[in-house]
Symmetry: D3
Subunit: 283 residues, 6 copies
């Protein structure tokens, strides 16, 4: 296993990739395979859910917290927490931006994954701009009123994962980052997970070896996906979830000439070293 | 210097990158830096000009042939020839496609660079579709009437470069390819050089170390660029050419966070191994 | 079973829907489910393949003709023939347009299905414009030189389907149309099957009840799909074909809230009678 | 007259189509003909204006309320009210979303018409996202803080229409809905009226038989449109209004091959039952 | 009346604006008002119709020639001729390009108006690229085979307008141009008339003072527009033509804040001298 | 020197062009050349910076104020002030809109320049919509709560420029405008400076004669641009700034056929008087 690239950077990143999403189980659906792939390369991954799922029809916030922790373990994610933004009413306010800034300065990710900015669920669309602006603010030496807004006694970042959920690479990196958490940090790259958006992706991540494991992570949300009373009983719920998510992964895989893929959009143009190393066959 | 990647492929490619353009000196302007960069990585590059420049106001076809050979040497290109399509009236016909197929089967490139499909000069736009269809036909086991159309005595591919122009990697690979030239060959990748197109590029190639050498290649076309009677004499021609081409290279470099760049469009989505290796900073 | 709508039109259409494609087995992949759905509504469907598949690596033109006839039977298609355009080199010429005009005037379809105008295979892209222009010419009272171009002895429309292939609604309508075949006919609607195009569809056709039957039609092309030597043997060919085509059908189905779907593009805006009858849920 | 389709749905919808707009007289201009067409099919229609027009140069809020009620009668609309958002400063806040949620849960529409999301008037653009998010929240079982935010004494939905304005289908459906108004309701479909937006519509609604009646509804706003001091007096105001609105209706009608039309955008793809029933001729 | 700007240019242009279209009466519909406006400014205008209308259902080519000449007089156009390309089957060939080059070199226009490149009628779309390539070729000092292709005895440009049709500014400028007609000429600007295209225009030309005269020009085509057997007789044909064309002109006028307008697309960006002189109000 | 056009308008505009931007030195980079060009035509220009730069890494707000005043003098701008919105956290609120409305009603500009609505820096994107809505509100006779929101003692528009910075056309116009500042004012035109946006501009302004002066204005920000510790010391900072900004100006100049240009987007279509006066050569 290669050394994590973070070690070779001067800043000593605590986390390589941080996925931010509105709801627990969003990340599992849109970029869970990518997080698994990154972890398999020795990279440190993390998930920040912005809400705790209190608006969901089924399952209490506590149940979902337990499930999220279990899913994190399946995904090989070393850090996962949830903020307390209102489920179904996430807003892009300075206050919410600053809550995320705290996490960014603690975890110091090189890459941040956000949901795509057009979505059926309003929370998803809002997180795209909310997360972007947080990444920007996080890099300012003198950000607007970062201290006074957040009461020091109630930390904006509350660890939701129960103690029993063993983090994959638990203490050292986070501890190191903790010490630097007041310092500005600007992620190098922001990409947008576009699975549920009706948009052409900029690129695909091949998740073929991880598709079954991703599926297990999603099934950890038993309150959401188990025992679902679907129509005629032709499909047991688990089979339908599997069939839908595998079909979408196959569709995006076919776009890039691999078996299963997850789609992403980036706003920047690419930069290519060597034309002969370009993947994805033209003809 | 690393081994050329072609050696590690089963097919034994004769050429790694082939740039196809309508006119001599097109390639120098739109992807000369990229060809230099590829050559510096030990890759074998080639240029196919489709016309011989007889419609140009200044310079005979013979002069331009000599200049093209000189520019090829500056660019480190091992093979350069010109077809005989009519300058200013390039058409996308089966006959023209088959002329290019012959070259493709001889050189067997992994990557083909074509001009972007929207352009002020009609020849450039036509070459995009003409070249694409040639790449497609080249891969067919039973292409339509490839033999009878081209008279065997007059080879469709005529070496225009004078004997005195030393090819960088002269004989062996071409000879090896020659033997296979009847076999189908489908390039893995087609990209479109979009410098003069008013379109957002898919990616940039960093040509910073090669910008001066690219400029020398362009200046090899003395019949076109030397002693040009420009307006008030404020700028000597060479300076104006330099200033324009460097400004455009700088613009595209800035898009990707490098000093000088050349822009390309690809039709396929990308495929990314590792999010933390993605270049081009977001913020 | 309802009466075919064609009967209620004054012109007495011989065919309701005609799918035109470059290669045998194109239609099976891109709109086979739609043809099955139309047939199940009592509509008369037909297929015109423009080439006979001589450029294919495997299978002779004769084999493919037999397979195409079998597939037509599975699809419930009453008429299927192939023109003799060169496989891999279909061109949009007046001559080729007029070959299609003859078929259009004979079959007099209300709807013509063409492939989408951007495609990896050059033939597909060409058929989009070739077919469009043929539909236009077919409606002119005085089209350019329709008679002399096509030699009377060799009919442009040659029945490729062997006699043994029983057409579903065999003789009467075709005979009736035959008598009118000299008269101009302009299809009411042209739609573009966009399955293999990387484009947002205008609409989806729900093919859920027909997906297995469509698959059978595709498998009729034994020369193409049977005994394929795929990599490690993890998947037998038939399973891979099934898995790919079902995954794409599922992707497009999900876009429209149904199980399996086929995507189409239309150039016209829509016209809606009643907002409360609009399908496809927003939220 | 056919039964309203709402009756055949299990939920017992009180209203079939609800048009939400920023200002009184917006709906008359952008979808008045569509509301008339829907009413003529026996569907129950309603209008929610978000502001009361206090920023308008001419006419008091009271005058506009009376005119709106008169216009509602002309449009055959059974329910019309106005919220109290500030005219010229409509904001997309949770509080405003919840004001609309109350109406949605009371009226329980199957279809909601919103203004298109790009517009010269900032209020129009805001209503597109404000209304969308309200539709989303309205469907949540546990929406964020729906109760406490709105003071119970001052109902968010205040009936603005004076008592004298006879609602077309007055009491029963509203009464029935009232009883269910606390229950979640998610509209099936959201469409965007795009008349004043410089965007290609997804579809047109044919309003030919209703254009004169729509015009009468608009003229009900005497405070806005009567006695207008226009330039040289070449056109009396009423004629100019007529001429402009009829010309736009004609333009959109021509797009779809009908006489007068109103344009709409939908975000979803379409779903088509039968290709031969597709309207709008291609050639 | 100001001097025509052509006089102040060194090349001595014979014509300021040349409109090229596929069919007689195309120009009247898409840019007749613009030609009138240009003529009213003292500019010299011309029309080149590429076909003679033999595919039309009604009216012989001779009738249409007479009508075209009459319409030209109404439009104040000094030169109008028709080439002999096949109606309904215009193709973009080098031969056809060269026929247009002859006209361009004779008339030496500063501006060429072409139809937009997407259109229902295939001829219109073809003329966009055919005309563009002709403009390009016309500027080459050494164009491909301009002499031998066109037989010298049969001039590519045949005057179709009967002698009786008095050209507005008849002999002098044409005579002057005639002498230079062999010399290369590249139009400064190409714009695309986009009236019938479903595309956002780059700019509008205000034709308010000329709308009635434009209508008279269209009515000159009596073989096309008079005595048309329309449905129920509610509208006499002339009224319907008027109503449709005025409504479209009004729609495009409203886009730019004028009464009647004609839409155009240009491929180039604009260049603005003074921001305070920018027309078309934002708010 | 011609009279300023403002004098010929009935409203007696105080300022012809007002550029609004988030940060001091934004305007210098994106439209400084345009402001110089407008001033050279005798037009009155002004700059409103919305923040005071407290989030910047280097330079205090006071330093930046002094530099901004100096830059204003170099740009020939008669009025420049800064609001007090938080640097790095500009929000589009009614309160902020009303702060800008006060300035608009005081200065009464015909043209307002805003940053383009997509940008890396979140402040820039917000200013596009914030400024647009302020322009809209400024034109309302009865805007929402313009008085009470802003405390009368602390003027929303505080002159930041120190007294020592001599404004170019200092007192008279401002004084005249001051008297009318309560009256509604709607700018005629809003354009968006798009230099740093990856978008095709609508038009270019030729700044060739002003590029050196624009550069001097930028260099006035010594706290930002002087003594910058860049990498290997190959370029002194001033040279790098020059090289980057000149290259971008050259790129946009080349788009429009001039030497140096600044790009702008407008939402409206254009309106063209005379096709022969259209700038920017096609071929």
């Amino acid at each position: 296993m290669p050394d994590p690239p973070a070690d070779s950077t001067p800043q000593g990143l605590a986390v390589d990739v941080l996925a931010i999403a509105a709801h627990r189980d969003d990340v599992e659906q849109t970029c869970g395979g990518t997080l698994l792939r990154m972890a398999s390369r020795g990279l440190r991954t993390a998930i920040l859910d912005l809400t705790q799922g209190e608006a969901g029809t089924r399952g209490s916030a506590e149940e979902r917290a337990r499930e999220a922790a279990e899913a994190a373990t399946v995904l090989g994610v070393g850090w996962r927490q949830a903020l307390d933004l209102p489920d179904g009413a996430v807003e892009n306010t300075l206050e919410n931006q600053l809550k995320i800034v705290r996490v960014l300065r603690q975890l110091r990710p090189r890459v941040v994954i956000l949901p795509y900015w057009q979505a059926r669920h309003p929370d998803h669309a809002v997180v795209a701009s909310l997360g972007y602006q947080a990444c920007f603010l996080s890099g300012l030496t003198k950000p607007p009123a970062v201290g006074p807004t957040a009461p020091s006694a109630a930390p904006a970042v509350r660890p939701i994962a129960p103690a029993a959920a063993p983090a994959v690479r638990p203490t050292a990196p986070v501890a190191r980052a903790e010490g630097e958490s007041g310092l500005p940090h600007r992620p190098f790259k922001i990409v947008y997970a576009s699975l549920y958006a009706d948009v052409r992706p900029s690129f695909i991540v091949d998740i073929t070896p991880f598709i079954e494991q991703r599926h297990q992570a999603l099934l950890a949300y038993r309150s959401q996906y188990a025992n679902q009373p679907v129509g005629g009983g032709l499909f047991v719920p688990e089979e339908e979830i599997r069939e839908r998510t595998f079909a979408e992964a196959r569709h995006y895989g076919l776009l890039a000439g691999v078996r299963y893929g997850e789609p992403f959009v980036q706003k920047e143009v690419g930069l290519v070293d060597d034309l002969t190393l370009l993947p994805v066959q033209t003809l």
